[in-house]
Symmetry: none
């Protein structure tokens, strides 16, 4: 019952308490934590759980009500409004899979920033470029059916980036662009993490600040193991999922053969 503290402004992140509570409640509602057509716990109960004052909880809930997530009635409590039609589970999961190279074909990218810069540390390490070597940096937002779902910051070594114009970045996949310029993709490694939307990213993805985002960092190498692209992608989790399947190999060992793909969710 002793709960973990929220981030007081004494700490690191100066985000108002009521807004933090708001975000957590919003996510719970969307995840079905309180059930469909359910009731939110009473203000006092939530105040105890989050260890804040009732007024702070009330303000968080009022914003939920203002956004149509709940309905409040004095004396009766707070009812969760059922957003019609819970997102249908796709009938054919595998049919919706898209691999890395296909991604560009079904989506559109908009270039927000473009230029040649001295790369940040991680990019330098991953791409194995010198400390004073310029790399091409691009910030883009990728959309599907006009709905933004990912925010990309990419770094490409200068000797490759010279051949890529800003218009190129608008186009489909970088993979096909690379191929066209004689660069043979050899391998890629990527890692998964999570991050919060800050004001800039939140605006670009049309989500509130503080929304949790899936973060994928990827390094692409050519067949001679030279760094070709270092990219960090932030995904809206309500519009995008990274899926993978693993199958045991025939030997029955503990190793799995894996296949990865992504799924863009249907409109919400």
């Amino acid at each position: 019952m002793a709960d973990s503290p929220l981030v007081r402004s004494a700490g690191e992140i100066p985000t108002p308490l009521y807004h933090q509570v708001h975000l957590v409640l919003r996510e719970r509602i969307e995840q079905g934590y309180y059930g469909p057509n359910g009731m939110l716990p009473a203000e006092m109960e939530l105040a105890r759980e989050f260890d804040v004052s009732r007024i702070t909880v009330a303000r968080a809930i009022n914003e939920l009500a203002q956004q149509g997530f709940v309905e409040r009635r004095r004396g009766a409590g707070t009812r969760i409004v059922t957003r019609d039609l819970p997102p249908p589970v796709p009938a054919n999961i595998d049919g919706l899979l898209e691999n890395l190279a296909d991604m560009g074909n079904r989506t559109k990218a908009k270039v927000l920033e473009f230029g040649f810069v001295l790369p940040p540390l991680e990019a330098r390490q991953e791409l194995q470029v010198g400390p004073n070597e310029l790399v091409q940096r691009a910030v883009r937002v990728r959309s599907h059916n006009g709905e933004p779902f990912s925010y990309l910051t990419s770094f490409v070594p200068g000797y490759i980036g010279q051949h890529l114009s800003e218009e190129d970045m608008n186009a489909g996949s970088l993979m096909s662009l690379f191929e066209r310029h004689g660069i043979k993709i050899g391998s890629a490694r990527q890692s998964f993490s999570a991050a919060l939307a800050d004001p800039k990213i939140g605006q670009a993805l049309a989500v509130p600040v503080g929304t949790p985002l899936l973060a994928i960092t990827r390094t692409v190498l050519d067949i001679e193991e030279r760094g070709v692209e270092y990219i960090r992608i932030l995904y809206r989790t309500d519009r995008y999922q990274y899926r993978m399947t693993m199958e045991r190999d025939k030997q029955g060992s503990s190793r799995f053969k894996t296949a990865a793909g992504t799924q863009i969710k249907n409109g919400g």
Copy 2:
């Protein structure tokens, strides 16, 4: 030069101006916008650029100085600190990889909740069990070197769960337990998302409420495609990363062979 506008609290997002300025400046420095060993523009200049008061800019810069990104000297301006000595890349990345079955061996799990329940909707769908069929539910926290890094909620069909005691859940991997009871793991599918720590999870993982977490949802099937386990895992991103490598196959097609693994980060 024209930058995206800051978000006044009058608008949607209640993030202090000085912190927004702080974030933008920090990113510029990391991206090399002002060059290495460069000087930050004067406070008044930045104040004009961001259209805020000089004091607001000063506060943002002071936080940068406190975090070691810049050095301030009265009358001389603000100098960007180059931090060389990049954090050493682990000598052997692949040596740190752990696959699914190995996970249990190096970590300890603590059972927080344990019992037989009617499963929530997604669990029922994934495991293909009837609406009134009981399944075993367990909530655990997994730790490495005494540091919690993941929060697991698992569902196992009743006919399997009968054979698994609460003590079993403390032990190593479920995979080896399954094998011991004659269940042949066939395949698994998982998807990646992100979520926020609520008070309960925040306490279990020792992070503040609102911390972004990597969320992995996994369904394990036996060789006859029957659901064996449905599990949702929330990971601290500062202590855990999910990595995967992809290698182009020999045909040169757009398909990749993938191998996945996880890395528990060293203590911070």
